[in-house]
Each structure stands twice: as structure tokens, then as C-alpha cells.
Symmetry: C2
Subunit: 211 residues, 2 copies
DNA sequence: CAAATTTTTGACCGATTGGACAAACGTTAG
DNA sequence: CTAACGTTTGTCCAATCGGTCAAAAATTTG
């Protein structure tokens, strides 16, 4: 009994089945959004009956909520790691690389997040204006310090962070379009390395010709 | 009779009501996606009854299809305008500016498109691999010419186009997040001008400090 | 073993979904 | 005015939705 949000005590089966459900729900929610997904779809993807699924998560929203909570943890980890200790340009470069790796390795998580934001972030708005804003403001201050020290060019730190998010997550969220445009030759596995090379050059030197 | 896809003959009322429906559907589809939207929602937003709406568009899909067809026309217009005649750096700069203006002035269209791509582009996949790929390949060749002529730095033209799409559309698709992070002070109407300034600098010079 | 507990399932519920249809209502041309 | 045509609506339908419930099946505990 007492499986819902309150009781942390879980049997072995409960832990396993909940993971199975969350895995299936990630697949379904990330491609159809919350309202576009059905419990039946998730149950089928998890290989169990609908009532059985509802035994582990009482409501459809509970699954989505659990998924979003976990997501935000791992999703902001790369930004948290952005530190004041190393060389600024190196720090930024490895932040971009980490974000691009996440787009490659966790595209469903990226799309789940994108779906939520696209639809107005009805379920995580407080987190955006709270925890997220605090973290970004903090890191923007770090970047501003680098600018004052002359380590990187003076520009808007917030929009710099946005541009890193946008360019990297694009390869997860718009993957279908990227592969369609690149075609069968260049749209293969190498596309992430091409993207990494391009982004490094863009954020380092821009497009102005050398000389 | 014969209002569907076949008969182009339309009365004055039909033209007006169809526009009314498409306007309402754009609002609904862009925030909930196709499967997450209901005919009732669209009908209510258009100020008419559901059967009345179905008199003008026989199926829910027909509305979405009409909307997507129109969208792609206007959505690719800025890229089509990218021309070989002017100064390369100026051309790219004004392309970025136009795309950012579209994110500002037509955010619903941007989100409608993003929703479709996020969900695997089930309805426009042929267009992506066909018309879109052709256009991008064509413009990539133009950009490559500029690189060979030493007018802009050598890099990957396809990923350059992706990065312009990603950074500009971000301000429409992730608008909620952008405003939440910027806060009430900097998240106002001025955010698009800040973004324009930042993107111009990024694509021109990158982040490397001057000197 | 047997009792207690946890897990699974089939049947079922009211609400909502996309859509059909005929009747009522407006509009327009002769 | 009136007949023809275009528009609008109330009613209805089968399918699907999220979710309940009691009973069966499996597992754990003593």
C-alpha cells in the first residue's frame, strides 16, 4: 500500500516496474507531448496493462511530474559545472561540448523539455522563474567577470547562454529536420562531430574572415 | 457544396470564415500540438459551433494541413532572399535579422512548426527531404562560394544555417523560458533588440577577446 | 505449510473525442 | 414573393480518454 508520492518505502518489484514505466513514458511523452500521449500508449510500451500501470502511478500527471523532476536535475548539471577556476575560453568550450553530448545521448529528455516549454511550461513555470533563473544569473555573473578581466569579448552573458542552449539542443529537438537536410551521406553518426567543430569555431572566432 | 480541397470556388462568407478558423487553429495548434488540440477548442476560439466549423473543414487534419502549407511558404522566404549579389557579411547579417523579426512577429507560426518537427514531422517529412533540402543545399553552395572568395571564414555552411535557425527561433519557441530567466526588468519588449545585438556580435566576431 | 500482503487483470464507468446528419435558418437571384 | 442555394445548429454516434474496483494470481512472511 501507499505507493504514491508519500511513501518512500518500495519493494524490489515496485522499483523495477516504476523504472520500466518511466522509461516507456519518456519515449511516449517526448514525441507526443503530455496531452497528446495516452496511458494506454505508455502501458503498452512498458509491456503491462493499463490498470497495472495505474497501480504504480495513480494519475497520468504523476508520471510526467516524476519525469520532469528527474530531468531538471541532470539537465542543468552541465551549467552547474561551469566554474570560475579554469581558463574562461576552455570552460565555455567544454560547456558547449557537454551540452552537445547531452543532445546526442539524451535526445528524448531534450524533447520532453522542449515540449513542456513550447506549451507554455504550465507545469514547471515556478522552477524556471526560481531555481533556473537563480542559476543562470549566478553563471552570468561569472561570465561577466571574465569579460571585465578581458578574457573573453564583452557581450550579453544571458543571451550567450541562450545561444548555447539553442544551438546544442537544436540537434536533439530538430533532429528529424537536421537529418533530412543533411541527407543520407552527411546525416549519419558523424553529424555531431561536424556540429561540434562548427560550434567551436562559431563561438570562438565568428564568421569574419581571417587576415 | 464542394468546399473541401477540390473546389477553389468560394463565397465571400466561406473565405472569411475559413480565415477565422485558420487564425483560431493557429492559436490552438501552436500551443497544444496537433493531438493535444480539439476541434471544440478551435471552434470556440473561432466563435462558432463545432458542426459549423466542420462545414468549412471536413476533418481536423484538413485545418492543420492548410496551416502547414501556408506556413512553409512564408517560413522559408527569408532564406530564399539570401542572395549572391550583395556583400556576404551584410547578406548573412540581414538574414539573421529577418529571422529574428519573424520569431518576434510570428511566434505562433514558429511554435506550430517546432511542434511538428518535435513530433517527428509525420505530416511534412517529404517536404523536409525534398523542397527544404534542395533550398538549403542551394544556399549552402552560395555560402561556400563566399568562403572560397575569402569573404567569410571557412566553415560548414549547413551547420551555419542550422545555428541561425536555432538561435533565432529560440526566442519564439522558448519564449516562456527566455522571459522567465531574464526576469521582469530585462524580459520586456527590449529583449529582441538585445538578442539582435548579441547575435550580430556572435556571428561576426565570436567570443575571442579583441587584441 | 498457511496466512498476509503485494501484484495483476478484466470488466466497467462517466467524460470527451472526432465526426455525421437532418432540420432550421439566411441569403440571394429570378 | 419565392424557389434555390448557402449557412448554422441541436442531436446523435462510436471510439477513445483517464480512471475505478473487485477479484484473481503471485509473492512474501511467519
Amino acid at each position: 500500500m501507499n505507493i504514491g508520492t508519500e511513501a518512500p518505502r518500495r519493494t524490489r518489484i515496485q522499483q523495477e516496474k516504476r523504472e520500466l514505466i518511466l522509461e516507456a513514458a519518456l519515449e511516449v511523452f517526448s514525441t507526443h507531448g503530455f496531452r497528446g500521449s495516452t496511458i494506454d500508449q505508455i502501458a503498452e510500451a512498458a509491456g503491462m496493462s493499463k490498470p497495472n500501470l495505474l497501480y504504480y502511478f495513480r494519475r497520468k500527471e504523476d508520471i510526467h511530474e516524476t519525469l520532469m523532476e528527474r530531468l531538471l536535475e541532470t539537465w542543468l548539471a552541465p551549467l552547474r559545472e561551469l566554474d570560475d577556476i579554469g581558463d574562461p575560453m576552455t570552460e565555455l568550450r567544454s560547456y558547449i561540448r557537454r551540452k552537445l553530448e547531452m543532445a546526442r545521448d539524451f535526445p528524448r529528455e531534450s524533447r520532453l523539455f522542449a515540449n513542456e516549454i513550447l506549451q507554455g511550461a504550465p507545469r514547471i513555470m515556478p522552477l524556471l522563474a526560481g531555481e533556473l533563473k537563480t542559476l543562470v544569473d549566478e553563471k552570468a555573473a561569472v561570465i561577466k567577470g571574465w569579460m571585465r578581466a578581458g578574457k573573453i569579448a564583452r557581450t550579453d552573458p544571458w543571451h550567450l547562454i541562450f545561444s548555447i542552449w539553442a544551438t546544442t539542443q537544436h540537434y536533439a529537438d530538430f533532429d528529424v529536420q537536421v537529418r533530412a537536410v543533411l541527407g543520407p551521406n552527411r546525416g549519419g553518426d558523424g553529424r555531431f562531430e561536424d556540429a561540434a567543430r562548427f560550434l567551436e569555431q562559431l563561438f570562438l572566432d565568428g564568421l569574419k574572415p581571417k587576415g
